[in-house]
């Protein structure tokens, strides 16, 4: 299983407009092709998870995630906000790179946790923020995932 296969170009946004955590979450959800009602429910669930503790894991990276009945398969999105937003991250630094993961409550192939784990692993690479900063288009993001072999 490779992370690369879960991302589509349409679900990668290198220039997020949001200026707050909530706006960023909404923008990320909008990258997933789901209807408006489902977007609203995903937003609520993601907020509930954030309220338990921020998914900002430090070094500018956040991994908002949830399971919800409104999606029928695992979906992921990536967003970048170069200037950063306050995400209440562990290291109290602004978050600039966002990996969104949503999955149905039950998946046949059970890839939710492995995907979450791989993104966490990718985030630990020492040069990852510099490399994410350099990206100029979604294809380069996909190539980076491939290069890192995650």
């Amino acid at each position: 299983m490779e992370l690369r296969e879960f991302f589509t170009e349409g679900a990668i946004q290198l220039d997020l407009k949001g200026e707050s955590k909530d706006e960023i979450l909404k923008e990320l959800i909008a990258l997933l092709a789901v209807d408006e009602k489902s977007q609203g429910i995903l937003y609520k669930m993601l907020k509930r998870r954030e309220n338990l503790g921020s998914t900002g894991i430090g070094r500018g990276i956040a991994i908002p995630h949830c399971r919800s009945l409104v999606v029928n398969r695992l979906r992921v999105a990536f967003g970048r906000k170069t200037s950063g937003v306050d995400f209440k991250a562990i290291d109290e630094q602004p978050a600039r790179y966002f990996f969104l993961i949503v999955a149905p409550p039950l998946e046949v192939s059970n890839r939710y946790l492995p995907v979450l784990g791989k993104i966490a692993q990718f985030s630990k690479e020492p040069d990852v923020s510099a490399r994410l900063d350099e990206l100029t288009n979604p294809l380069e993001f996909l190539a980076l995932l491939q290069e890192k072999g995650v």
Partner: protein, 118 residues
């Protein structure tokens, strides 16, 4: 979407989150990657679930409790006409309804609440 169905969906999603946080691989990851305090998170989720259950309309709450006493999944998706609780085919008229999810419906076979998705 019917507001009671939306509330049911949210409760079910919270229960999923709660169940998963109680399981080893997920709990370990939440603690290691996100520094989550799982015990605290579980009690917050329990309180929220209880609060939302209480807020359901009395008739829906009665049906909810009857199913919840027997099984963890009270709301299940209908995908391509099949109830994903009991895997029985749902009557076509119901599964293809234009006003899908505008009513609170139950599976005639297993009794679980139904949420129609594509």
């Amino acid at each position: 979407m019917h507001p009671e169905l939306e509330a049911l969906l949210e409760i079910q999603d919270l229960k999923t989150q709660r169940r998963e946080l109680g399981e080893t691989p997920s709990r370990d990851m939440q603690e290691a990657v996100f520094g989550l305090s799982t015990e605290e998170a579980l009690s917050i989720l329990d309180a929220k679930i209880a609060e939302m259950e209480e807020a359901l309309a009395p008739d829906v709450r009665g049906r909810y409790r009857r199913i919840a006493n027997k099984q963890p999944r009270v709301v299940v998706p209908v995908i391509r006409g099949t109830c994903y609780g009991c895997f029985v085919q749902i009557p076509t008229a119901l599964a293809s309804d234009a006003d899908r999810n505008e009513e609170v419906r139950s599976c005639q076979s297993c009794g679980r609440f139904l949420y129609l998705i594509d």
